[in-house]
Symmetry: D2
Subunit: 103 residues, 4 copies
């Protein structure tokens, strides 16, 4: 989880926001540990459900942000270069959207 | 995250499945760390989204399980004892369901 | 879709709010026809998606309301009478919640 | 709801699949009327919820399909022409995705 291993790999294009996504994912990890502790401490079920809803919303916000970055970078770049590649990337993105909407 | 601190507190009724929920939540924590690492390693965006969808589904399955236990234990117990309390518990449960459906 | 055919059948318990649910469903039917018309008129895709999101939220609100009524009436009544029947009804409700959360 | 009124308007690009979307939306309208009738006939609540889940899934499938078409046509066309316009269109699409994921 250190950054140096990947410092030379910028291929997937969302590096400008990487710190923001890492912060959000670390907060999500903390929320997941919080839910585990609530279960272990046998907190009131409804309070645990409230935390799980918050965690799910936070994850979906990360997913929507990543997808937006993906469309902006990978898909636009592909569109400017190569139609077949752009269509393949849009198909992947649409499949990912379908999974998110259903999950 | 050890069990002894709460070993005398059985009030919230889902103790029989506690080990199962703790296992599921620990797997979810691992999945969240995996997503963080994928972001840090700048893995392909669509692959990260696939993992987030799987994580969201796992969280929703925990939520639906906890809600089922809550209805079976707290709500049924309340219904047998005291109508006003049962109605209050059902209101709480319905509010939690609304949050889950929208999250 | 007239009321008289069912005026003697009160078994499912949500009759007190029936007019409210019928109004909401008729508005939803109108929203669905509106989406069809937008497709037929080739309106801007994003505007159609906005209407579909509103329609989905309206349907989920109906579902959460019906579930709340079901818990308040069928499940509480069963709980006061017969444990086995109450548990069966809670199982059904939990399965319905799982389908809603995933849909 | 007739096609001739719009036969000369191809601007939004999904005309090739228009018949498919109209068929799906008309089926959805029928499903909505079916739910209204189930409420009016006071059918068992859980059965109504099952139909609402099916209807919600059908609507989401239409939304995901329209979004896919939008990305393929409007966004790719814009990308080939004009970066600023493509970015605006992607922002709109991402906002629509966020609404769908949360609805």
């Amino acid at each position: 989880m250190t950054a140096q291993a990947t410092s030379e790999e910028h291929a997937h294009g969302y590096i400008t926001d990487k710190a923001k996504y890492l912060n959000r994912m670390r907060r999500i990890e903390g929320q997941a540990r919080g839910v585990t502790k609530m279960v272990d401490d046998e907190k009131y079920c409804i309070d645990i459900l409230t935390q799980i809803s918050a965690l799910t919303s936070a994850l979906q916000a990360v997913a929507v942000g990543l997808l937006d970055d993906h469309l902006k970078h990978c898909v636009l770049d592909a569109a400017r270069m190569d139609s077949a590649d752009a269509e393949e990337k849009i198909k992947e993105a649409s499949d990912a959207i379908a999974r998110l909407v259903r999950s």
